[in-house]
Amino acid sequence: MMHNITVKVCMGTGGVAAGGGEVLDAFLNEISSEGIAASIEKRCSPGKVGCRGLCAKDVLVDVIIGNSKVTYQHVKTDMVPRIVKEHILESNPVLEWAVGEDYHNFHDRQQKVVLSDCGNIDPEDINAYAAVNGYIAARKVVTSMTPEDVISTIKMSGLRGRGGAGFPTGTKWEIAGKQDAKTKYLICNADEGDPGAFMDRSVIEGNPHAVIEGMIIGAYAIGADKGYVYIRAEYPLAVERLKKALDDARTENFLGKEIMGTSFNFDILIKLGAGAFVCGEETALIASIEGQRGMPRAKPPFPVYQGLWGKPTVINNVETLANVPYIMRNGPEWFASFGTEKSKGTKVFAITGKIKNSGLIEVPMGIPLREIIYDIGGGIEGGRQFKAVQTGGPSGGCIPADLLDTPVDFESLAKVGSIVGSGGMVVLDETDCMVNIAKFFLEFTRAESCGKCVPCRIGTKRLLEILERITKGEGKPGDIALLEEMSVDIKMASLCGLGQTAPNPVLSTIKYFRHEYEAHINEKRCPAGVCKDLLTYSVLEEFCKGCGACLRACPAGAIKGEKKKPHIIDPSVCIKCGACLDVCKFKAVKKE
């Protein structure tokens, strides 16, 4: 029997950047070339798919013949002819290029709901989404369900907002549904701004129709006839795919007037964000759509009562909305069977930092951090020691090694001083300085504060200045106490979520790594060897052979010495780049 052959080339942002487009072209050329075309062209369909998570191994290519699938990693165009010849024509997979055990470990421990079709279907083809039961839920909802039924289904599923705050989605929809207003709005918040987070981008790039279907269902439930997707302009591929998906959905009458033959009207506009992190805050986002400067305003009134143009407005995050079609299709009990009692379902995380398998994962809520980092993530790169994991981005906190068994859910992470947040997870190892990490996040929040309220505008600046002093060795006794005092006050007094959470990285690093702060302040020493101003490089005379390697490597001319005699580093000239340490074969350079 002649099987159909499918080739799936990863074309998420990571895949495209690694050359996915060229690889796909190479497959298309190869199979249409003479000789090969005659035997397989009609049966073989190479196509693009969205992100499948393990970006570190891009370009990833699936070759599926009948029921047997082989995934290749790090595929380059020059590898394509051999894969086509040996695997596709002769059914001998090129196993030396196939993914290994870590790729399977990465996927096996995951539970995919939102990402279940990402990386499997062509995101630019509405029929591909339809082929995996796409838009069935929306059709069922608008043709045979009441808005109340939809809301109670979502409430039963226990779905909570995936943007960070974890507010119950069904409750939000219920309040909006009850508002007596002629015009209501549904906004999809795709202004993903946490450093290192790319969950929402990957979902839109990999399966834009799921988000659109979720929005149709949400709009029907609350009675909105207009929706917006507020998305960062820095996500060009996601925007392009979303635009195409919206056009295709309109053509199919999934959007527009009298959707699917009913009296329900709903359409979606794209609003590009100009890059301000604070516009992910819902009232600032609304101001931005209205053409105002993106500054948050005080709540109440909450947007669900008075939002865009003063009308009741529901704002849901991308991942939240992308969950909706799957819940409606498979039932709330199915969704609620994942996760914990209070945090149902799954959560997508972007794991980055000092981890082997960095990428995008989806896990059931309540999974211990340890499983994410060691089983899925493959542990720390280079066999170094794990130090902490930073969750929740600039609003989150650092969780140390002895709390690695903490389950990842809204309540448990809050209990240890961090948050689930939108799903960023940065893994830190022994070579990371925790004061420096706190400083990094404060640099971000200081720059992204909108400037409206005093505690955030000036408070984050002062926090950062103290951290900068400490990392330069100019820390003073009392600095830790001052950092703690002002952090608490900034959190309590700030207007919006940005300021109310900006000190979290400082508080959590002080809580778990106070000794590192103390070493910087009292001993003028950076235990992780990161803070340049606190480092000195010197040559250990007893080990130095006088080979001159360091002398040649030093870009500053700070090293002097005669051949075969111990060299000396002049600390007043040394720029602490570490080049000498890297080149010394005799471990004669000491960094402290």
Partner: protein, 346 residues
Amino acid sequence: MVTLKINGTEAVVAEGATVLEAARNAGIYIPSLCQHPKLTPFGGCRLCLVEIKGLPRPVTSCTTPVSEGMEVVTTSPTIERLRKTVLELILSDHPNDCMVCEQAGTCTLQELAYEYGIRENRFEGERRIYAKKDGNPFIERELEKCIMCGRCVKICDEVQGVEAIEFGYRGFDTKICTSFEDDLDCEFCGQCVSVCPTGALTGKLWSKQGRKMGVKEVDSTCPYCGTGCTITYHVKNNEIIRVTSNDDTPNEGLLCVKGRFAYKYVSSPDRLRTPLIKRDGLFFEAGWEEALGLIAERLQGIKAEHGPDAIAALSSARCTNEENYAFQKFIRAAVGTNNVDHCARL
């Protein structure tokens, strides 16, 4: 009406009022820098934070509407600590040059620093420094003293409808900007100056003329037009050094560029102090008796020779309604012509 409890005492206010309004209504003081009765709430300075039973964190009373049965606490150790922190943060990015600041004595920030006894400041660090830019003759902008309360932006937008200024940049770098950061080029009504709680916006003409000490405030009516805005002259050594207008006036404290800034004519040496009579192409000073006598004589002469319609009269929009009424009555009844008009504009 809504009944709520503020510091344990019952208060009744209209629905839609804010907690801050309710408290002030009840004579309870809550500090604030950004709130202004003419403007929509901003909620930026965070000084009016209060505790409301059932809410997990303090909220700004200026933005929170009252609700039935609400229980508000306007002062507590936590609230006072937060207010002090906020003030210290503001002052850590402020020139603190009250010695030479125009606003000293009428500065809300200075008053709050005094009230909270902020002599030492836990915070220190970089301060904003800006190059001076404005060449305009009216409004001095010392943006280093700006606390970003947004009152100037709001009054320009919400009351004056001009939108000459807006917030620019982000975070610590936020500042109040004109379009493209050009020199200020608006109608210079000075409404922004009147609501600025610090010395960031002052009148250029006021500079070094006098602050509070030795300054007498004299209420008057603006002579520029028939609107008759109530103004307050600030007088020192028998010289007008500044014009302001109080909120409780018919013009609600709002003035135009002339009323607010164009007061120097009062002591101008070029100002007419007596009537002038022209003889042989030259003006000669005269007394009122003489001048009015001449006018009466000439009017009578022209009327007798050519009839009343040979006379036309033009009065000024700078006169009051009453003066203009009397004038047209005189022309119509005494002179006998309807040829009377006024310049209708300034």
